[in-house]
Symmetry: C2
Subunit: 288 residues, 2 copies
């Protein structure tokens, strides 16, 4: 039984969620995410609680409960000069931060320095801050899939999903990307996303970024599919955040926005009989 069937759909149904990560990161990210929700094909997104533009996005989320919204649990900050850190005082989670009190830039540093206890404390604090703000998330997922950088962090992640009654993003390809063995760490009762897709660095470098997305849509397999995008505008703010970081940089994010708000992409979804689903649908049908 594939996940489509588990969710009550025909086993041949091509289910798709187009999900915007990184809301709250910057104003350019917030504005593009909002436009992609309202006018584009993005049908779910998740917010980074520790980021400088969290408050703006949270106010929007409260005013627009019709959009599927999760928490993009954050343990790393990949940027060079735009630096943020934990919601908790650094003295409570010293293993999560560098000498300036900011999150590490790489998952490997997190794995080496952090304890599972610190990860749990900080992620609970992020969830509690969002709830105090009045947010009602539909799901939990993870920035840079950093929760997969250590088996014990992944256990915390699943435990938090259960504790708060929220589905968490579990997917074989994402786990393999961060070096976590899916065979060992996906349990029999875990709801998993069959196929997860990200824009490809190789396509981006070859100037074939859109063709990559087009190919994903045209060849979409039956089951539950998830495309993770990062819409933002290619403006000075986003350019400065992503300095020396072309992959997932400002131009990349603008292309994400453009592709998933275009009429051509809308037509592709119809032509290929793709059915859109949200984390809210998954949550309801799995009686979380």
């Amino acid at each position: 039984m594939n996940t489509a069937q588990q969710l009550g759909y025909d086993p041949q149904a091509k289910l798709l969620m187009i999900h915007a990560d990184d809301a709250g990161l910057s104003h350019a990210e917030n504005r593009a995410t909002i436009q992609a929700l309202e006018k584009g094909m993005v049908n779910s997104y998740s917010i980074m609680v520790p980021c400088p533009w969290f408050h703006e996005m949270a106010l929007y989320a409260k005013d627009h409960p019709q959009y599927d919204m999760g928490l993009h649990l954050t343990l790393t900050c990949e940027w060079e000069t735009y630096r943020f850190g934990p919601v908790l005082p650094v003295s409570e989670v010293p293993g999560l931060v560098d000498g300036h009190g900011h999150f590490f830039r790489k998952r490997e540093q997190l794995r080496e320095k952090a304890t599972a206890e610190e990860v749990e404390k900080e992620l609970r604090a992020q969830i509690e801050k969002a709830l105090r703000m009045g947010l009602r998330p539909t799901h939990l997922d993870s920035h840079m899939y950093s929760v997969g950088s250590h088996p014990d962090f992944f256990t915390v992640y699943k435990k938090l999903g259960e504790a708060y009654g929220l589905p968490v993003l579990i997917n074989k390809q994402m786990m393999e990307m961060v070096g976590l063995d899916p065979k060992t760490h996906i349990g029999p009762n875990d709801l998993t996303i069959d196929h997860t897709y990200l824009g490809a660095i190789a396509d981006f470098e070859k100037g074939q970024f859109n063709q990559g997305y087009q190919h994903i849509l045209e060849k979409l397999q039956p089951g539950l599919n998830l495309i993770l995008i990062h819409p933002a505008f290619d403006e000075p703010e986003m350019q400065a955040i992503a300095i020396n970081h072309p992959n997932f940089g400002a131009e990349w994010r603008q292309m994400d926005f453009d592709f998933f708000t275009s009429e051509k992409t809308k037509a592709t979804l119809v032509e290929h009989n793709i059915q859109m689903v949200t984390w809210g649908d998954i949550k309801t049908q799995n009686s979380f």
Copy 2:
């Protein structure tokens, strides 16, 4: 003896500092401040340590010690959706923050809720964070002159200047603006700025912003003069920060940048025989 004489200049010398406040607030503010220092007439600036773009500006300051740089001690955040709070954990300074852990928007709220002990703890933490980062400030000043919102906060401010061997911005007009009596709170040994100028809201509303600045320069009095500007670019990031806040908003800040980087303004300074001084000059000549 006016301050020009105290500093070893002719009593008739028209001394001027053109100072950029609010570096670190946003990327648009940082970029404009840097350009105004490098290509314009700004000859001193100060950084807001608790702000999201502090790190970017601090890296620049470390690489460019030739520019006069102070700390813009921060106790308030006037913005509606772009919210930041203390460097210290909120549990250590509960009287400085609203229910979300952000600084109050108004000086009056700060005056009502905060204790002088909290103000001192937080401002010391801001200074210490800047020093740990390797910054070597030339002076201390105060965002929204919030240190003047209560006599006890002002005492803390002066005490910190002494403790760190740094001149602090003391000026009659600024004190009057925030409701602190200059007669009572300027001591015989305090070095004061004779005349401090800010862009005028009335001029801005009448579309005569530049004329206001031009008038200030043409009528500049002998003594130590300080023009406080807030250069930034009128871009989406700055527009979103200053939503519903036209005074000191994105357009205002762009006009600050444009006026104080223009050839016409440069010519005015020469024509009126205005001598530029920095906090570094003041610091040296007062053997701080």
